[in-house]
C-alpha cells in the first residue's frame, strides 16, 4: 500500500471514527444539541469544524476549540439526521492535531508522584484512557507511577475521586478545595442544612443555573465538573460536620458529559446508602439524582423535596 492520503479530509477519513466525514451536509443539529456551545464556548461548532476539514483548512481546524473541547458525550449522535458519530470524527481530527504538535488547552489533572503508589485504579476509572502506569526514577529509585496524557485528559475528575490515597488533583476541584467548601452556616432550630453538589453539565436551562445562586444560606451549592468527581468520603465528612443532608446532581443516564461519570456516581451513592442500611442508619440523607437535558425545573423540585424530607427528619429526631 503506497497510496498516501492527499487531502486533510482523506487523512481524517483514514482514522477509525473519521470515516463518515463527508456525510455531513452542515445542517447544524449537532450544534443545537451541544452543551459546550451553550455553556462554555460560543465558538464551539462541530458543523463548522467538519466543514473546515472538507475545505482543507488544516491549521484552523487544529486551533479550533471544537477539536479540543468535545468530550464525546454523544448528545448530538442520536440527533444527527445523517447518523454521523460526530465525536468520532472530532477525535480523528484531534489525533491529527496532536501528531502535528498541538496541545490541549484544557485544565487537566496532575499526579503527585511522591504519593502515587501505582495501583492503576485511575487507569481503569478514566473514560478517556488518559492515565497509564510508567516506570520512572523518583527520588533516586525506580518506581511505578501513573502518568496522565494531558491531550487525552478532559478534566472530569473521575480519577481524582477514585484515587484511594488522594494522589491526583485537578486545579479548582482538588480534594482539599472541595472539602473546604463543605460548610453550611448554623441555622435556626428546625431549618435543615443541605450541601448540594451540582455537575456543571446537568442543568441546561438558564433559569435552573441561576436558581443555584438564589438559595438561602442553609443550602450550600458546590459546583463540580462531573458527579463522578464525588467520593463517598465527602458525603460522610459533610454529615459528620453536622450538615443534615447531601444531594448529588448528575446527568441522566446516556447523557453524561464525561461518558461514565453519572454511572460511577450512581454506584457510589447507591453503595453508600446500602452501607447506611447495613449499619441501621439508612435514613435517606444522601441522595443522587440524574437530571436530563429536558428536565427543566427539576433541580428546584429535587432541592425542595430534599429540604422537606430533612425538615421532617429533624422533627422526628
Amino acid at each position: 500500500m503506497n497510496h498516501q492520503p492527499e487531502t486533510f479530509a482523506d487523512q481524517v477519513r483514514a482514522i477509525p471514527g473519521g470515516e463518515h466525514l463527508e456525510m455531513c451536509y452542515s445542517c447544524g443539529t449537532c450544534v443545537s444539541k451541544c452543551l459546550i456551545q451553550q455553556k462554555v464556548e460560543p465558538e464551539y461548532n462541530p458543523r463548522r469544524l467538519l466543514r473546515m476539514v472538507m475545505m482543507d483548512m488544516r491549521e484552523e481546524a487544529f486551533q479550533s476549540p471544537t477539536t479540543w473541547l468535545c468530550s464525546a458525550c454523544d448528545l448530538c449522535y442520536p440527533a444527527c439526521p445523517q447518523q454521523i458519530h460526530i465525536s468520532g470524527v472530532i477525535g480523528a481530527i484531534k489525533q491529527l492535531a496532536i501528531e502535528a504538535g498541538y496541545e490541549s488547552p484544557l485544565e487537566t489533572v496532575t499526579v503527585d508522584e511522591s504519593l502515587c503508589s501505582g495501583c492503576g485504579i485511575c487507569v481503569l476509572a478514566c473514560p478517556y484512557e488518559a492515565p497509564h502506569l510508567v516506570e520512572k526514577e523518583i527520588a533516586g529509585e525506580m518506581d511505578r507511577v501513573s502518568e496522565v496524557d494531558a491531550n487525552k485528559c478532559m478534566g472530569c475528575g473521575i480519577c481524582v475521586a477514585a484515587c484511594p490515597l488522594g494522589a491526583i488533583a485537578r486545579k479548582g476541584v482538588s480534594n482539599e478545595e472541595i472539602v473546604r467548601q463543605i460548610k453550611v452556616k448554623r441555622q435556626k432550630k428546625g431549618v435543615p442544612r443541605l450541601v448540594t453538589f451540582v455537575c456543571d453539565w446537568c442543568l441546561r436551562a438558564d433559569d435552573d443555573v441561576s436558581l443555584l445562586e438564589s438559595y438561602p444560606d442553609n443550602v450550600r451549592v458546590i459546583h463540580i465538573p462531573c458527579s463522578g468527581r464525588i467520593d463517598p468520603q465527602m458525603a460522610l465528612l459533610a454529615l459528620r460536620s453536622g450538615i443534615d443532608g447531601v444531594l448529588v446532581c448528575g446527568c441522566a443516564p446516556g447523557e453524561c458529559h464525561y461518558k461514565r461519570g453519572t454511572y460511577v456516581s450512581s454506584c457510589k451513592i447507591t453503595l453508600l446508602n446500602r452501607m447506611f442500611e447495613q449499619m441501621s442508619i439508612g435514613d435517606g440523607r444522601v441522595r443522587f439524582v440524574q437530571i436530563g437535558t429536558q428536565d427543566r425545573g427539576r433541580i428546584r423540585r429535587e432541592v425542595d423535596a430534599m429540604l422537606e424530607y430533612l425538615a421532617a427528619w429533624k422533627e422526628a429526631r
Binding site: 495501583c119 484511594p164 460522610l236
Partner: protein, 327 residues
C-alpha cells in the same frame, strides 16, 4: 530484679483482641530474650503474673512505654486504657484493634442488646435457652459479683484516651514489631500521632503482581473462593476486591504472596480519613456497564459491603461515628 531499675519499663496489655498481637511478639524468638535484657517488663498479663493492683501502685508516668492491643469493648478495657495512659510516658496503639477497631469493631454493625440476645438465646449451638444474661452486678447469698459491663459501641484506643503512636497490623508483622521496639528504645521518635512500623504509600507500591490495563473493567465481583486465582495478576483485574490500593504498606505482603487479596489490616495510607469510603470510591469507578439492571447486579455481587470495605476500620470510621452520635 534490683538491677532492672535503670532499664526502661515496658508494659504490654490486651483489651478486646484475639491474642494474635501477643503471638506476634512471642514470634520475636531469640530477639525476645534480647528484649528482656533491654527492658524491664512490668506488666504483661498474658505472659507473666501481674495484677492490676501492681499497675495502680505505680507512680504516674512510671512506665516508659506501653504497647496496648485490643479494642475498647467493655468497661474493663476502658478502665485499663485510662490506667495505662496515666502510668505510661509513651502509649502505643499496638495492632489493628487498638488502632482502628479491627474485627471486634465489626460488632458496630449491631448493638449490644442484639449481640447478647444472639449469643445467649438464639445461636443454634445452644441446647436450650436458659434465658441467662451476663449482668454487671449479681447478688448471690455470698455477696455481690461484679463483672465488666458490655458497651453498645466498640471504640478504638484513641477514641478512649490520648494515644502517642499507632502501630498497624492484624497482627503487626514480627520484623516491624522489632523495628518499633528499637525505634522507641532509640528515643528517635517521630511527631506524636504518627503511624510507626509501616510505610506511607499503599501496598500496590510494593506489590509485584502484573497491573491492570486500561480498557479492563469489572462486570462481576467475585470472592476469593469463587475463582481460581492467577498468582501473577492483580486481584482487581480478576474481579476480586483487594484492599491493597487503600492500605498502608509495611506488612511485606504475606497475604498477597499466599495468593489471597490484601484484607486491609494495615489501615489507611497517610491523609485518608475514612478507609472504607475511599475503597468504595475506587471500586465503584471500576464497575463497567451502562445498563441499569446490570449495574444493580454488579453492585449486588459485593457481598457484605460494610464488612468488605471496613473489615478492619469500622470502629474508626465516620459510619460508626454517625451511628453512635449523641442524638
Amino acid at each position: 530484679m534490683a538491677e532492672s531499675n535503670t532499664k526502661p519499663k515496658f508494659a504490654f496489655y490486651w483489651a478486646a483482641s484475639c491474642g494474635g498481637c501477643e503471638i506476634t511478639v512471642t514470634e520475636l524468638g531469640m530477639r525476645l530474650v534480647d528484649a528482656g535484657d533491654l527492658v524491664d517488663i512490668v506488666f504483661w498479663p498474658c505472659a507473666m503474673d501481674f495484677k492490676y493492683e501492681d499497675v495502680e501502685a505505680m507512680a504516674d508516668g512510671e512506665i516508659d512505654f506501653c504497647f496496648f492491643n485490643g479494642a475498647i469493648r467493655t468497661s474493663e478495657n476502658e478502665d485499663l486504657a485510662k490506667l495505662l495512659r496515666r502510668k505510661s510516658k509513651v502509649l502505643v496503639a499496638f495492632g489493628s484493634c487498638a488502632h482502628e477497631g479491627c474485627i471486634p469493631g465489626l460488632a458496630n454493625l449491631y448493638d449490644a442488646e442484639s449481640i447478647l440476645e444472639r449469643v445467649y438465646n438464639t445461636v443454634p449451638s445452644l441446647d436450650e435457652s436458659r434465658g441467662t444474661r451476663p449482668v454487671p452486678l449479681s447478688k448471690v447469698p455470698e455477696g455481690e459479683i461484679h463483672i465488666p459491663s458490655f458497651y453498645d459501641q466498640v471504640k478504638t484506643l484513641a477514641q478512649t484516651v490520648d494515644v502517642d503512636y499507632f502501630m498497624p497490623g492484624c497482627p503487626p508483622v514480627v520484623d516491624q514489631v522489632w523495628n518499633v521496639f528499637q525505634l522507641i528504645l532509640s528515643g528517635q521518635l517521630p511527631p506524636k500521632g504518627s503511624v510507626i512500623g509501616a510505610d506511607a504509600k499503599t501496598n500496590c507500591d510494593v506489590c509485584p503482581r502484573q497491573k491492570v490495563q486500561s480498557g479492563m473493567r469489572i462486570k462481576e465481583f467475585k470472592r476469593p473462593h469463587e475463582v481460581e486465582l492467577d498468582p501473577d495478576l492483580c486481584f482487581l483485574a480478576q474481579g476480586v476486591i483487594c484492599y491493597g490500593p487503600a492500605t498502608r504498606a509495611g506488612c511485606g505482603l504475606p497475604c498477597i504472596q499466599g495468593n489471597m487479596p490484601c484484607r486491609g489490616c494495615y489501615g489507611p495510607p497517610e491523609g485518608v480519613v475514612d478507609q472504607g469510603a475511599k475503597l468504595l470510591s475506587a471500586i465503584a469507578a471500576l464497575i463497567d456497564t451502562d445498563e441499569p439492571e446490570e449495574l444493580q447486579s454488579i453492585m449486588d455481587s459485593i457481598v457484605d459491603l460494610v464488612g468488605t470495605c471496613y473489615r478492619f476500620s469500622l470502629a474508626d470510621s465516620i459510619l460508626s461515628e454517625l451511628k453512635y452520635k449523641k442524638r
